[in-house]
């Protein structure tokens, strides 16, 4: 899906837990998430913490969309 959307000329970032698979299937901009069932918020942590993590990683994804890249790139997250 990511590839077909990018092929249409739309800038796209894939947020994925399995970065090696995202890379293999051909995503160009990638941001890691924390798990498969809850990519952006661990339910065993307080709501506030989940929000901080999600807000941070979506922010990284937005910055990735605004960043020129030369090759497949995994953007770094802080939390």
């Amino acid at each position: 899906m990511t590839k077909e959307i990018e092929k249409a000329g739309i800038t796209i970032v894939q947020m994925a837990n399995l970065i090696p698979i995202a890379k293999t299937v051909g995503a160009n901009r990638m941001v890691p998430t924390i798990s498969i069932p809850y990519p952006l918020g661990d339910p065993s942590t307080p709501k506030e913490e989940q929000w901080k993590l999600r807000h941070h990683r979506v922010g990284v994804a937005l910055d990735a969309l605004a960043t020129e890249i030369e090759e497949q790139t995994v953007f770094k997250v802080k939390i």
Binding site: M1, G9, T11, V13, I21, V25, P39, A61
Partner: protein, 349 residues
Amino acid sequence: MKKAILYLNQFFGQIGGEELADHAPEIREGLVGPALELSKQLSGVAEVTHTIICGDNFMGSNQEEAIKTILGFLEGKEFDIFFAGPAFRAGRYGSACGNICKAVKEKFNVPVITSMNDENPGVEMFKKEMYIFEGGASAAAMRKDVMAMAQFGKKILTGEELLSAKEEGYYPRGERHQIWLNPPVSASDRGVDMLIKKLKGEAYTTELPIPKSDLVPIAPAIKDLSKATVAIATSGGIVPVGNPDRIQSASATKWGKYDVSEIDDLVKGEFMTIHAGFDPAAANADSDVIVPLDALRAYEKAGKIGKVHQYFYSTVGTGTTQGEAARMGREIAAELLADGVDAVILTST
């Protein structure tokens, strides 16, 4: 006795060589050329009743007419299975076998079987849509290639258990089936066995080969995010409770788009996941963990992005074939372009 029909080109149909490659399609009762061997190999289960012959160039340059004529020949004929070739390494013949098999399968819904060498471009073109047996490079392999097609045809016709593509000898179609192993060895045992072999430096065969990647050109960076419309898409199966589009929980062929223009947050009881590949508890309690609408709204309010797109797009990415995923991606991309969406965040699970 079941009935089979075979398709051949002008050469194997004994019309002539290259100079007769414009030969228009014809159907003959009975057996021509390789049909003799095929009928012999099928004996006991089926017989070849007719042979269809068409010049490779005729099929190549008048494909629509050729297929229409041949489907016309087959109309009203009783047959349980359709064969074409073997085509060996002959590119035009391989393409013709693929085209006619595809058309026959679509129209008459019978099993279709052909055979080609792995260098034949017809393999890449059609392997996903039919059984193509791995054949020899030239007609020297005729007997062997016909036998492979016939034996598999017999298995289908008698309802025998069909094994994997590799075991049967045809090119994998990219289909997955659930099978019971004999003796039963659980996935965890098989995984650990592989790991031990890997650590020892021994050879092992993965059960999940990852196809080689084929990269798409990198789309340019968004110049000014604060003016951009950003959409969210997901393969995590987030849908409104009730799953109005009836997206499948696995091996999805459908996707949905959901209007969130009036919503800042995906709350429990309104949105959920229908993805069958993971524990849905967390996503059902708060779907923002997969479709981070709340966070994106915050960036919209803060002015970091221009606008959150009116819809988010969703399907399920477990057991979904690459072909289906690509088709759904294309369909979603067309909508995004039409709606003037500048950028997409796609979350996968």
